[in-house]
Symmetry: C2
Subunit: 294 residues, 2 copies
């Protein structure tokens, strides 16, 4: 969709658009100064595009704006697309006007380009900047593929998506502690799982799934435990635990296949190769699992 | 997927399968006795199928089982498919064996077939049965179309799906009251909306959406107010409120189109025709809205 801020998103600009007038907006991802030329890598939610300014050709006003730019500043660029094999993706924009929508402070408390690495404390404190790193964006894009394929696969198997209540009157599973909620003066709890509700729903809709938050108030000394998490939960009538394992292993297989196909670039950014699996997955009994863990 | 409980789901049985041996499982939706013949309408999550028993042809053991059947009992049927134009959808199953997995009490506190209507109190008290009514199943199927199309449309516009924290430290929007949560001895709250988080995410991913629960602790004297609800929430950088309205009205248009196409049967069950809309929708100012309400 065109808005007054952009005729195109960064990744939509291609060499075949050579000569077109465009408007793009985003964040200043990188600035490189080669004396005669200045390169700005502009980033938006879709990707990046190079903005190239020649000191000899650009007018004075434009050059003054460019001199002020800091990393992560928000800018709007009016210009002409130029196909150039030396530019990333073979294309760049020669700007006529650059408008600064918001100037970022300098220096930033976290290096978004990733050249200087930061420890976890800094990353969490500066989460707004941390989320702009390409690794974090890759993770979100992969998560979107995972979510889409989970839903598509479960739907193809006759499962319907449901939402169950999150404020509940009593515990649904043993072992896990509950977060109390004060519900209009009465004590209630946050749901540990959709267990009881999805059982009742399966007695009607036969096959249901829910993707949503769940809470476990378990104190933990490790960073591996989340008290709030997103659960992917299925329930089916007329299936035993082997049938459920078959559904879930096929779901995992489809998810891995899609991530490998659709998120190859993101996996490169993360330097991660998902395990390749073949079905059926080996199945072990609870007893065997306990023995393996010993 | 075939399981030991079913070779097919009810709606998968078609006249073209005439002569095939099948296994189906589900709930006894209706029983009709015509003297020489007994018809059982069997229901599972996919739909219904007619099971036809001829007193003259069926063996004694099968007839004894059939005599015991009550509405909503859970049964497993082994039999042969028979194409018959007189049967619903032109097909029925002639059973060789019927296994009762669970016998339902008689009479039921709520009529699932819908012939006897129930008041809201009864329906909520007997929610497990209420959810089996075809009207409730139609609503869930329509909801699934709505959810799928919302996500597909927003993805096509570059939006990515996110999950934001639900236990929060402070209010995100004025006006609405918060439900307090006791978070490991400290006071926290349930999120009224993903507002602050989605703003930060939009500063990274540019276009985000979330479909998830939100809570408002507002006392209410009417049945129109939910303190827990599922919110569909978008946030975008480089868009103004007119752009957001354009996105949302196109989303609503796509949702209505899909529901009309894919849920025609469900709309018939509910005796409901969604409004037909054409874009752009009329837009009025806040001031005009207030004046209209007066």
């Amino acid at each position: 969709m065109k808005t007054k801020y952009k005729s195109h998103r960064c990744s939509e600009i291609t060499p075949s658009m050579h000569g077109c007038e465009v408007v793009v907006s985003g964040w200043v991802h990188q600035i490189r100064d080669l004396g005669g030329k200045k390169f700005i890598i502009l980033r938006d939610g879709s990707g990046t595009i190079q903005i190239t300014i020649s000191r000899g050709e650009a007018d004075k006003e434009l050059l003054e704006v460019v001199e002020q730019l800091t990393l992560e500043s928000v800018i709007m660029v009016y210009g002409k697309v130029k196909a150039d094999p030396r530019a990333p993706r073979g294309v760049e924009i020669i700007p006529t006007t650059i408008k600064i929508l918001n100037l970022a402070k300098k220096p930033l408390p976290l290096d978004v380009s990733g050249k200087v690495s930061a420890d976890l404390d800094t990353r969490l404190r500066e989460r707004v900047l941390d989320l702009r790193r390409k690794e974090m964006q890759a993770i979100v894009r992969i998560m979107n593929t995972v979510l889409r394929v989970i839903r598509e696969y479960l739907r193809s198997q006759g499962f319907v998506e449901v939402f169950t209540p999150k404020i509940i009157a009593a515990a649904t599973e043993g072992g896990a502690n509950l977060f109390p909620v004060i519900y209009f003066g009465r004590e209630a709890f946050l749901a540990q799982s959709p267990q009881l509700y999805k059982e009742l729903l399966a007695a009607s809709l036969e096959r249901v799934f829910e993707i949503g938050p769940a809470w476990r108030a378990e104190e933990s000394d490790t960073p591996y435990h989340l008290s709030e998490f997103i659960s992917v939960d299925i329930e089916a009538a007329f299936m035993d635990y082997n049938d459920v394992m078959t559904i879930l292993e096929e779901m995992i297989y489809e998810v891995l296949k899609a991530v490998n196909q659709e998120n190859a670039d993101d996996l490169l950014i993360l330097n991660y190769k998902p395990p390749s699996i073949s079905l059926p997955l080996p199945r072990i009994t609870y007893k065997e699992a306990i023995e393996k863990l010993r």
